[in-house]
Symmetry: C2
Subunit: 116 residues, 2 copies
């Protein structure tokens, strides 16, 4: 029952593509993540994928288009749509996914989402 300062949470780690859980919302993990470079192509068959850029800029590449997001911009990748986040420079995001969603779309390759 404390305010959650997203910048302060982001200051607690440095690794890329390793989302950290900062809050729960109705069975969803609210996370912050630092990204740099290209992630893998993946999709989530059972869930939308929520992105809000807090700092920096990312491209969300989809097979038929690319959406560029700056700080203060958000996007929801619809369920089942293949996508690849790409950041030319380090960017900081808030992301939301149902608890247990593998970040790579595949439990075999997904990182563990620690709570901070």
């Amino acid at each position: 029952m404390e305010p959650i300062n997203l910048a302060e949470k982001l200051g607690q780690f440095s690794e890329h593509w390793s989302p950290k859980i900062v809050a729960d919302y109705n069975g969803n993990d609210v996370m912050v993540v630092k990204v740099l470079g290209e992630f893998n192509w993946h999709s989530h068959p059972d869930t939308d994928d929520f992105f809000l850029v807090l700092d920096g800029e990312i491209d969300i590449e989809m097979r038929d288009r690319t959406v560029t997001l700056m700080a203060g911009e958000m996007f929801v990748v619809p369920k089942g749509v293949e996508h690849r986040p790409v950041a030319q420079k380090e960017a900081h995001l808030m992301v939301i996914e149902p608890c247990g969603t593998p970040n790579t779309g595949d439990a075999a390759t997904a990182v563990t989402k620690d709570r901070i």
Copy 2:
């Protein structure tokens, strides 16, 4: 399938306590809202209530404590917890609630959430 610029969306309206839907996430409304003054005490028996302050500062008063949120800070009011948002000056928020959740906790007094 376009980026959603939250500040640009907030620039499209001026009324307070009237959330505008900007995106869908798994059956949830992602909304922006301008707030000023005291809202009513209410709770949502079936859902958590997600708040992220984009600009300004708000107090989320609960019966046993008050959480003060500045820009870049978020908080999730747990399901069923009575609360009252209060803003001494105009503040801008992103909020998330399941589609159809009355903003006042009561369908009889809730505002219609327009999509922008």
